[in-house]
């Protein structure tokens, strides 16, 4: 693995390879065979924990807008919709994950990639900037999670 940065989430050290770009919705994007391959950052995976269900609500080839809901993910502890990282086209999905999504937990930067994407306009960050973004939001993210748990 190439160079990486780390971010402490409590005792957990989330790592972010610097060979790819990151979106504010905690996805990574890396150029691969003409498209961008997209997956969840270690930060997202750590928040979700053990993922056992993944589903897409758009078809391959769909053109999407930033923040459009494209799927959902469920873990033993949490669930979330999955949103497009920017405007563009969802070229295809990682079919292996639909059979068994555990690769997202085991190898989120490799075999656990989610889909291939052709961005038409996306606000992406280098790993250093993503790390700063996380630092700036970590307090609020924790409050968000604790707030739901106390409800």
């Amino acid at each position: 693995m190439s160079d990486q940065l780390t971010f402490s989430m409590g005792k957990y050290e989330a790592r972010f390879p610097s060979d790819r770009l990151y979106a504010r919705n905690h996805m990574w994007l890396q150029q691969s065979a003409g498209h961008y391959r997209v997956g969840l950052s270690a930060y997202a995976v750590r928040l979700l924990q053990d993922i056992y269900f993944l589903d897409w609500t758009v078809e391959p080839g769909a053109s999407v807008r930033a923040k459009q809901e494209i799927g959902e993910v469920e873990s033993s502890k949490a669930l979330s919709s999955i949103y497009a990282p920017g405007d563009g086209t969802v070229v295809n999905f990682n079919k292996e994950l639909l059979k068994d999504p555990t690769a997202i937990n085991v190898d989120n930067y490799g075999a656990g990639w989610l889909f291939e994407f052709e961005p038409a306009g996306a606000d992406l960050m280098a790993a250093e900037d993503y790390l700063k973004y996380l630092e700036g939001n970590w307090g609020e993210a924790q409050r968000h999670i604790k707030g739901q748990m106390n409800d």
């Binding site: 758009v58 949103y83 609020e140 999670i145 707030g147 409800d151």
Partner: protein
């Protein structure tokens, strides 16, 4: 054994979650051995088409029916109703997911029925929908089913109001209770299931105890999902015209009568009352969710554009209900959403 046996049908989860699977198997093991009930397993009931064996089986059940599913009971009931498995909502002692107290479980239907137009052609048998997400202990379900079976055996006569009700489940080949080879998505299938596991579907169902036939859904939906029957009553006519993932009509329904059983927002998925259940932590806001307010219009525009049609934004079919109606009291979910909107995560 009398004719008043109840039939118990378990609607399987699609999930691979071993905890869910285990619960299903434990309940099935108890009920398959119970001579007092007829028991069968079908694929997820929401996904069944009219020609699917699982649905044909459900429709063949004429006596009281217990459906165990991973859905809110209200959602499960109206999914059955939409698919021609009709009956009256039976009262159960069990709670559904997120239900704190048993305050308005029994008899709650009466008050609601006064407001809605009511279900058409529901026979006078009872359909009990139990929410498998509510309890971890299989014995809770098994005990309640035994209680319902005993009650049904005693009370069948007054319930039928002179109609002869025969419990005559479809005769099915005996399937050994053992893993079977299945090309479906499940690798370690353990239960004998009636019919094949099909594709996931996505469509609304209407809770007619709440629906007032106001037509806002048919005005808002631009995909031809809704229609009218011979009595000018709204119905979900073309289920598969519905756009996967789009719950927009549910957001505009003034009575919260439109249920998308699979939506992750409790109030849309058919939770009892209007409050959100104590669900799992929803991280959507952290993962880039848009502001909830224009969500319905955005969802609809997305589907219009996908069809090569023009986006209409907030110009077509937007509810006129705001005037003269007291503001909907904010529930916990609304408050949470408001807080999050302010955070700019």
């Amino acid at each position: 054994m009398s004719d008043s046996r109840i039939t118990v049908v378990l609607s399987q989860t699609r999930s691979k979650d071993p905890i869910k699977r285990h619960l299903e198997e434990e309940i099935a093991t108890s009920l398959l051995l119970d001579p007092g009930v007829d028991f069968a397993v079908v694929p997820h009931v929401y996904d069944l088409y009219p020609e699917d064996t699982g649905l044909l089986y459900l429709k063949s059940v004429q006596g009281h029916l217990v459906l165990l599913s991973w859905l809110y009971p209200r959602a499960a009931h109206w999914v059955l109703d939409r698919n021609g498995v009709k009956g009256r909502e039976g009262a159960t002692l069990l709670k559904s997911l997120g239900q704190e107290s048993d305050e308005d479980e029994v008899g709650d239907g009466e008050a609601e029925e006064a407001r809605g137009i009511g279900a058409a052609n529901a026979p006078d048998r009872q359909v009990f929908c139990l929410d498998l997400r509510a309890y971890d202990d299989p014995a809770v379900y098994v005990e309640e089913i035994k209680r319902l079976a005993r009650a049904a055996a005693v009370k069948l006569v007054p319930l039928t109001l002179g109609l002869k009700v025969e419990t005559k489940p479809l005769q099915l080949p005996v399937i050994p209770f053992a893993p079977r080879k299945d090309e479906g998505p499940r690798k370690d299938e353990g239960l004998p299931v009636i019919g094949e596991v099909g594709e996931r579907r996505w469509y609304p169902v209407i809770d007619y105890t709440r629906c007032t036939n106001c037509m806002e859904c048919i005005d808002f939906c631009l995909f031809g999902v809704y229609g009218l029957d011979h009595h000018e009553t709204i119905l979900v006519e073309n289920q598969d015209n519905c756009r996967r993932g789009c719950p927009a009509c549910s957001r505009v329904c003034p009575e919260n009568a439109i249920i998308f059983p699979e939506h992750k927002t409790a109030a849309i998925a058919g939770a009892p009352g209007e409050g959100p259940g104590a669900l799992k932590i929803d991280l959507s806001k952290l993962f880039g969710a848009p502001n909830a307010i224009e969500m319905a219009a955005l969802e609809r525009d997305t589907e219009l554009i996908r069809d090569g049609r023009d986006a209409v934004g907030l110009t077509v079919g937007i509810p006129k209900r705001q005037e003269g109606k007291p503001a909907h009291e904010k529930d916990d979910l609304d408050r949470l959403m408001d807080e999050l909107d302010g955070l700019e995560l």
